[in-house]
Structures are given as C-alpha cells and as structure tokens.
C-alpha cells in the first residue's frame, strides 16, 4: 500500500508515480501544518467513511498505510520490538498494530525521528471494523493510551452470502449520521452538505477509474507488473475523495494505454505465467518477492488486496453508502462470497495459478485461504500454493521457503500448460 514500496527502479519513475509521491507527501505535510496551527488531526482505519472529514477539511492519516510504508523501508523492526518489549503486547497480534501502537508512544517525544514517514500524534480516531475485529481492539488501545475519542462505525460482518439485511444497513447508516453530528461538535465545524456530496461523487469517480485501470491488466501479456498496483493503493486509502487522485489515475491510465499501444510492459522479464496474488504484500520482503517472481517469469497480474478499497455507492444516498461500507472490504464478506469473487477474477485475468500469502498477522485473510482455496481450485482448475509471511514482521518470511513454493507452483503451471498445448 506504499508508494515507496516496490522494486528499485532501473528506469526513471513514471510520472504517475511521482504524482503519488507528491500527493502522499502533501497529505502528511497538511497534517503536520494543521497540528502546528493547533488544529485537530485524526488517524483512521483504511476503509472508514472518509468523505466527512474530507468535506470538513480536517486532515486524517492512516496507520495501516503508514505501517506499510515504514515496513517497506525496513524501519519497522525496532517499533515492533518496542511493542513486544516495554509495551508488553503479545507477538501474536497484528504487526501493523504492534508497529503503530509503538509509534504512537514514541512520537510523544518531539525529538523522535526514527520512523519514516512520521505522523503527528492524533487528536481523534476514526474506526471502522470492516477489515477485521483487531482494528477495534487496536484503536481501543490507542484511545486509552492517548486519551482521545474514537468515532466508530461498526460495519458488522457478512457471515452469509445474502446482501446486508435492512436492519444492518439501518444501523450502519445511523452510525454514519451520528458520527457526522459528533464530529461537527468535536471539531466545531459544520458539514457543508454540498461539499459532502461533491466528495462522494469524487470518491465514486476515483473508485471507478481504479477499477478500469486494474481491468487493463487482464490483457496478455499484462502492461503492468501486478506489484505496481501496490504503489497506487495509497491514493484510494489516503485520498479517495480528492481530485488529485483522479489526476493520478488518469495519468496512470494514459501510461498503461501507451504500454498497450507499444506492446511494452513494466514487468521486468518475459511473462510466462500469470498468477493471482492473495493477501497483503510482505512489505519488508517486497524486493525478494519481486526478484523471485521475475526469475521464474511469473507476473502476479492481479491481487485481491488492491481491489479492497473500492467503496461503490450512489452519492447522496446514505443507505447505499452504509451498505457499501459494510461490504467494501473483502474481509467483511463470507468465505464463499470472497472466494467466488477470486475464482471469477482468476478466470477473467487468465491466471495460471494462485499464490497465497499465509499472513501470520492476519487471521482473517489466512482463514480465507485455508477455507476457500478449494473453491478456487474447483472452479478454475488452477493450482494454489501457500507461503508463510507477514506484512510487517520481518521474522516470519523465509526467502528459501518462498522460492521453493514458487518453484513448485511454476512446475505445476508448466505441466498444465504443456498438457493444454500438447
């Protein structure tokens, strides 16, 4: 989810990537500037109704995204150790949480400068539990430690495959409305409904654009190395409702169309195999992942994680918005729902296999793999392979295991291809 994350570029960065870096830098700078002016700033979970603070002009930063960036720069270990050591958190909880709770404590010292990017300390928290329940416990801890309020939108969990029942939508809508009033009181600002609607519309434009862009990678060979998408996710997390994200996505779309027209790609080798990557990236090990994939000519053309940020609803319709937040994170869906989606994607992107990250931090995503991979295998006939990792805790990933598993997957994909062609 970090624009600093991916491969070391041999060529100059494309313009869209420079724009992402500038946008992210501005979001952080705006928060620091507001803090310096004595104004409030918030920290938010990744898929929270950001439209409200965006329309109110209150800066918000995103710990999950921030933890990803810090981890990709190999600066996370010290923080994780601080959480497990002096702060006494068990090592079994999500490493994003461990990293961030440690950071929250460290930044209380104004001289602290070891993390990058550094976030200012928040004055409030925005919590939506649509990605997991751990977020709720994590934010409870932050709220206690920093003595700041939580604005909570409980998004429930869709334990079956039906669309959220009306009583669920009503409860979530009431919470968003309650949040608007509470935030108006807390910030002393009045929500301009026109602006709110504008932000909603902008969010929809951006979601749609990103969806279109991702679909372009279904071409064979793919115009992008699938890992490139990780570099643009921050746009949807940090700036889902901003014009600058539209500008970036339009630029990115142009660049991809250019690749298609020229028959070029950002994947640094011949694309012999296409796989679906399941789960979060191993941020500290992204370089190794990419190198191994390149060596085996495997392009991870698509992954479920980058599609998790699309929150699609009808602007101006609060019920529709509520339902979207209840179902937008794929983690809020039942295994059947999510794995049927994955199988569908694998077919559409013509993938030869699925590479699943058994993420030691994330019980939710790992359950999906364990419970659901047979759905994918049955529906698509493609092989699935697991490897062990973690999105931030560098102790879990093993380079040797990743290569062995990847090699095994490639062998099966090769046999399947030969059988198909022969």
């Amino acid at each position: 989810m970090s624009e600093v994350a991916a491969q070391k570029p041999k060529r100059a960065l494309p313009k869209s990537r420079i724009m992402v870096a500038e946008q992210t830098a501005k979001v952080y700078q705006d928060a620091w500037d507001a803090k310096a002016r004595g104004e409030i700033i918030g920290w938010s979970t990744a898929i929270f109704p950001q439209e409200v603070c965006e329309a109110l002009g209150i800066p918000v930063l995103y710990p999950e995204n921030n933890a990803a960036s810090i981890s990709a720069k190999h600066l996370g270990d010290e923080l994780i150790q601080h959480a497990e050591g002096p702060m006494r958190y068990p090592m079994n909880i999500c490493s994003y949480a461990r990293l961030n709770m440690a950071l929250a404590e460290k930044i209380q010292d104004p001289a602290y400068d070891k993390a990058d990017p550094l976030m200012p300390s928040p004055d409030f928290l925005l919590l939506a539990n649509n990605s997991c329940t751990q977020l709720m416990k994590w934010y409870e801890s932050l709220s206690r430690d920093l003595n700041i309020p939580i604005f909570f939108v409980d998004c429930l969990f869709n334990y079956d495959e039906e669309a959220p029942a009306p009583h669920k939508v009503t409860y979530i809508r009431q919470q968003i409305e309650h949040y608007i009033t509470a935030m108006e009181q807390f910030s002393g600002k009045k929500l301009d409904r026109e602006k709110f609607l504008e932000v909603q519309k902008r969010s929809q434009i951006n979601s749609k654009l990103f969806d279109d862009i991702i679909k372009l990678n279904s071409r064979t060979p793919a115009p992008l190395s699938g890992f490139d998408f990780f570099n643009y996710m921050s746009c949807l997390v940090l700036c889902r409702g901003k014009q600058s994200t539209t500008d970036i996505f339009e630029q990115l779309k142009l660049e991809i169309e250019e690749h298609i027209a020229n028959g070029t790609t950002t994947f640094p080798a011949e694309e012999k195999y296409r796989v679906h990557w399941e789960g979060i990236a191993c941020w500290p090990n992204l370089g190794h992942n990419l190198k191994a994939l390149k060596n085996y000519n495997v392009n991870a053309v698509i992954n479920g994680y980058v599609t998790a940020w699309n929150v699609v609803y009808e602007p101006g319709n609060m019920d529709s918005m509520a339902a979207a937040y209840a179902t937008s994170s794929t983690n809020s869906l039942s295994t059947n729902s999510i794995m049927n989606m994955r199988a569908d994607t694998i077919k559409k992107y013509d993938c030869d296999g699925m590479l699943c990250h058994v993420n030691r931090s994330c019980k939710m995503m790992t359950f999906y793999i364990f419970v659901g991979r047979h759905i994918v295998e049955e529906q698509t006939g493609v092989p699935c392979t697991n490897f062990d990792g973690d999105q931030s805790d560098s102790r879990v990933y093993s380079e040797a295991q990743f290569e062995t598993r990847l090699q095994g997957l490639v062998e099966i994909m090769q046999q399947n291809k030969e059988a198909k062609n022969g």
């Binding site: 702060m87 329940t133 751990q134 409980d154 334990y159 009583h167 409860y171 019980k363 359950f367 364990f370």
Partner: protein, 345 residues
C-alpha cells in the same frame, strides 16, 4: 455432606463429559442446539423447546481441522472444528455462532465446509452501543435467529415462551452468583477445580436443572460453618482457566480461587436480562449493559476497575491473567490490565 459431595461429583462428571449429556438429551427425544462461546442467545434455543449446549471443544491435538484453520488461532476454536469434523457433535441440530472476533469470522466459513451435517446460524452483536439503533439492530438480529431456530424446532417460538426462558436464565445467573459468594466461605471444599466444574457444567445442562442442583449445593454449603482459609486467594481473568492441571497446581500451592472474570464462567452471569415488555428487546438490552468483557467494545474500558474492586471485595492476594494464546481480544487488553493491576498493589 454426603449429599453435597454427590452433587459436586455429578457436576464434575458432567463438566468432563459433555457428550454424555448430549446423548442423554438426544435419547430423551430432545433437540439440541450447539452454542458457541460466549453470548449466543441461548434463551431463544431454550424458548424453542430445545437444549442449548455449549460448544467449547476440548483437549485434543487437531489434525483434520488443520485443513481449514491456521495453526495461529485459539485452541478452543481449533478443537471445536476438530470435534465437529470427527463427528463428536453428531446429533446436534444446528449451532449458533456469535461473531465476536476475527477467529469467529473465519470459523463461520470453516464450520460450513468442515462440518456440513450441523448447520450454522450466524449472529452478530452491534459493537457501537452509543447509537440508539444498536439495540433495535440486535433485536432484529435475534428475531432472525429465532426464526431459524423455529424452523429447526418445527414450531413457532412465542414471546411468552421467550419471556419464560428469560426468567429461567435470570434465576440461573442469580444462583451462580450466589454460589460464587458462598463458595468463598468453603474454600476447603470448593477447590479451584470443583468451582470450575460447577461453573462449566452449566454449559452442558438445561439451565433450570442446573440451577436446581446449584441451589441445593448453596443450601448445603450454607448449613456448614464457614471455613477459615489460611492459604492465598486469587481471582482468575481471561477466557478460560483450563486445563484442570492449572487449577490443581493452584491447590497444590495452597491457593484458592475467590472470584473470576472468565468468559467461560462469571462473565456469563453478571449481567441480568433487564425487565421490559418485548422479550427480544430485553435480550438486546442485556447486551447493551454488558461491561468489562474483552469481546465487547467499551468507550472506556472498565475491566481493570472491575478486577480491582473484586480484589478488594474478596480480599484477593493476586489476579491470574489466564491469557488464551492467539485470542486477539484478550491479547490487546493484556498490557493495560497487567499495568493497571500492578499499579493497584
């Protein structure tokens, strides 16, 4: 005394052999519905004329379950799935699963593929209890569960029946609370292991039957002179205090349990179902009043204070934090609890 021993022995046997109880109820022609920990709307199962039975897994080294659950989830859920896949819950008509944590989110999928002969009824509690709509939401959620249970029971579940079951559950909670109090005057008889068995047996019995036995135990204990316990006194907090070896270790070291905040034990009983007209609203209102439980979101956590007050009230020398490995909700609270309790000394 002989009678008391027999009753305590009976509850210990039941706590250790839930399958025997399941077979007994099935042999009586009753339908049994499994209730996953910890707040699964048991009253509705009871009102539907079926037996709610706790699903807590057990001491087993999972093998089959490894296909569907990662190694890094709590042993309770791993063993529940293992038992389910091994057919140990055969005969149960359905299970109700409250989605209280990420492991439950995952388990709801794992159960459906792993244990296909026992259908799953999902239930989700609202965690944002600040908005008025939370209670209505839960009442509607309970209504959905009720309808699914009625289909299994093959009969409608009337409001009057739910109200009657609520009385049974409130009376049971009250007697369990009483037992916990009276037990502290008889720490020689109500050892940590015995106390745990009295608490745990409740999970596998129809509640009025359990309440009757516990009521008799309380009456017998009250007839006896209070015992002057000279050992140490502790509170237990966490999900469970299992296995029995842990409790035996306390006894061997002359340590008594004088109170608990365990999800498997007193957390179940400390919040009465409030009065009201509509029984589903009443059940929802109970959730709105739950406090100091790691599975329930609180704006300001009250668990530390609860334990400190309990420690004062029961003159506890210490608190044992029974930290369930891989239980996120407990693991996030551990540092706060440990620091708060240490500071209170």
């Amino acid at each position: 005394m002989a009678n008391l021993n027999l009753m305590l022995q009976e509850l210990q046997t039941i706590a250790a052999n839930p399958r025997t109880m399941l077979d007994k109820y099935l042999a009586e022609g009753k339908k049994v519905v499994g209730c996953f920990p910890i707040y699964s709307g048991e009253e509705l199962v009871h009102a539907a004329g079926m037996i709610p039975m706790g699903i807590w897994g057990g001491q087993v080294n999972p093998s089959a379950a490894g296909q569907y659950v990662p190694i890094f989830i709590c042993s309770i859920m791993r063993s529940c799935l293992e038992y389910g896949m091994q057919g140990k819950y055969k005969g149960i008509s359905a299970v109700v699963m409250p989605i209280l944590c990420d492991t439950f989110r995952g388990m709801s999928g794992a159960w459906r593929v792993g244990v296909t002969d026992v259908p799953l009824i999902g239930l989700i509690q609202p965690q944002n209890r600040e908005v008025a709509g939370a209670r209505d939401f839960l009442a509607a959620e309970y209504a959905a569960v009720k309808n699914k249970l009625a289909a299994i029971a093959g009969r409608p579940v009337e409001d009057a029946a739910i109200a009657a079951s609520i009385e049974v559950y409130n009376a049971h909670s009250a007697i369990m609370y009483k037992f916990a109090e009276v037990a502290n005057d008889h720490l020689d008889i109500i050892t940590p292991k015995v106390r745990h068995a009295v608490m745990k047996s409740a999970l596998f019995m129809e509640k009025s039957a359990h309440a009757a036995i516990v009521g008799d135990i309380v009456a017998e204990l009250k007839k006896m002179p209070a015992h002057q316990w000279r050992g140490k006194r502790v509170l237990l907090t966490g999900i469970t205090a299992e296995p029995d070896e842990l409790l035996e270790f306390l006894s061997e070291n002359n340590i008594a349990v004088v109170g608990d905040d365990l999800a498997q034990e007193s957390r179940l009983y400390r919040t009465a179902i409030p009065a009201g007209n509509n029984p589903l609203d009443r059940l929802a209102a109970q959730w709105m009043e739950r406090k100091a439980c790691s599975t329930v979101h609180e704006e300001h956590n009250t668990r530390g204070d609860l334990l400190i007050n309990m420690a004062k009230k029961y003159r506890a020398d210490g608190v044992v934090i029974c930290l369930m490995s891989f239980c996120d909700v407990e693991e996030y609270e551990y540092p706060m609890l440990a620091k708060k309790l240490e500071a209170a000394e």
